[in-house]
Structure formats: structure tokens, C-alpha cells
């Protein structure tokens, strides 16, 4: 699962869902409902990410008594956090896949 999926963009499973729902029911109300749900989840995920990055980068880049800002640090921290997100995502998902392949879960 890539970072882009949390913004509602191009998760392969979502594309497949949309394609298969178009084939099976294609009830416009059902499609609209699914889109709204997916949209709200994407917003919730983006909000969570923004809050966590703000918290972590504020911590790393700014010090009491907070007289000056440190924008270059914030920008680098943001990039570093997103890369960390991707590393963690890969490690966690491969762990889930290994556990399910060996029948642990």
C-alpha cells in the first residue's frame, strides 16, 4: 500500500473495486455511496498524517522559547517522514504477508 492510497489516489484495490462494482450492480446510488465513503476515509488519513508530521517536525525543528522559525528543517523533516512512512508500510505489509502465508494469522 503506497502513500498515495491515503489521498484516495490510485490504490490498485480501489480501482479494481470501482471496475467490478461497475460490472456487477452499477446502481448509481451504491456507487455514489462508495465514493463518498472512500473520500471521507482519504480525508481522515490525510488529516492523521498532517497532524503526526506536524507534531514530529515541530518537536525536531523548533526549540523553546520558539522565537524563530526553521522552515528548511521543516521541509526536510516532512520529506523524511514520508519516506519513513513508506519504509514502515513496506515492512509491516511484508510481515503481515509472511504471517498469513505461514498460517499464523
Amino acid at each position: 500500500m503506497g502513500l498515495s492510497s491515503i489521498f484516495g489516489g490510485g490504490a490498485p484495490s480501489q480501482q479494481k473495486d470501482a471496475a467490478s462494482s461497475a460490472k456487477t450492480s452499477s446502481n448509481p446510488i451504491a456507487i455514489e455511496l462508495k465514493n463518498q465513503i472512500a473520500q471521507e476515509l482519504a480525508v481522515a488519513n490525510a488529516t492523521e498524517l498532517v497532524n503526526k508530521i506536524s507534531e514530529n517536525c515541530f518537536e525536531k525543528c523548533l526549540t523553546s522559547p520558539y522565537t524563530s522559525r526553521n522552515d528548511p528543517c521543516i521541509d526536510q523533516c516532512l520529506a523524511k517522514y514520508m519516506r519513513s512512512w513508506n519504509v514502515i508500510s513496506k515492512a509491516y505489509i511484508s510481515r503481515i504477508q509472511n504471517a498469513s502465508a505461514s498460517g499464523e494469522i
Binding site: M1, I29, E32, E48, C57, K60, K80, I93, I96
Partner: protein
């Protein structure tokens, strides 16, 4: 975004209801994984990333992040087992 009314929802047939239930189940488990990743990144970033002088992760940092997730999960499993044994 057009919003759905209550009567729109009431008019859904059984096939569509089932389809939406399946969809929700899938989104729900995807969301659980997403929230865990948020939590692990928050925890492990604090522990593994020292300086933010450049936007790239060092190979040590990257290794630390992956180890951090795996040790966290090991811990989680051990805790669950430990609690089960004390019952």
C-alpha cells in the same frame, strides 16, 4: 460532491446493500492497517531518525525503522501470549 438523501439510501436493493457491506468490510480492514502504519511511523520515527539535516533516510535509519516495526510486533505478540497464559 452530491450528497445522498435518506430516501436514496432506503431505495437500495438487497444486491446493492450486500455489495456495500462487502465494500465496507474491505475498507475497514484497509483502514485498520493504515492506522497501524500511522502509529508505527510516529513511534519509530521518534526513535530512529536523529537529525533532519537532509531529506533522505540513511541506510541505518531505514534499517532501524524496519527493525522497529518488527520488534514492536514481536512485543505485541508476546504480550498477548503472556496475558493469555495468566488467565
Amino acid at each position: 460532491m452530491s450528497s445522498l438523501s435518506t430516501s436514496d439510501l432506503a431505495s437500495l436493493d438487497d444486491t446493492s446493500k450486500k455489495e456495500i457491506a462487502t465494500f465496507l468490510e474491505g475498507e475497514n480492514s484497509k483502514q485498520k492497517v493504515q492506522m497501524s502504519i500511522h502509529q508505527f511511523t510516529n513511534t519509530c520515527f521518534k526513535k530512529c531518525v536523529g537529525s533532519v539535516n537532509n531529506p533522505d533516510l540513511s541506510s541505518q535509519e531505514e534499517q532501524c525503522l524496519a527493525n522497529c516495526v518488527n520488534r514492536f510486533l514481536d512485543t505485541n505478540i508476546r504480550i498477548v501470549n503472556g496475558l493469555q497464559n495468566t488467565r
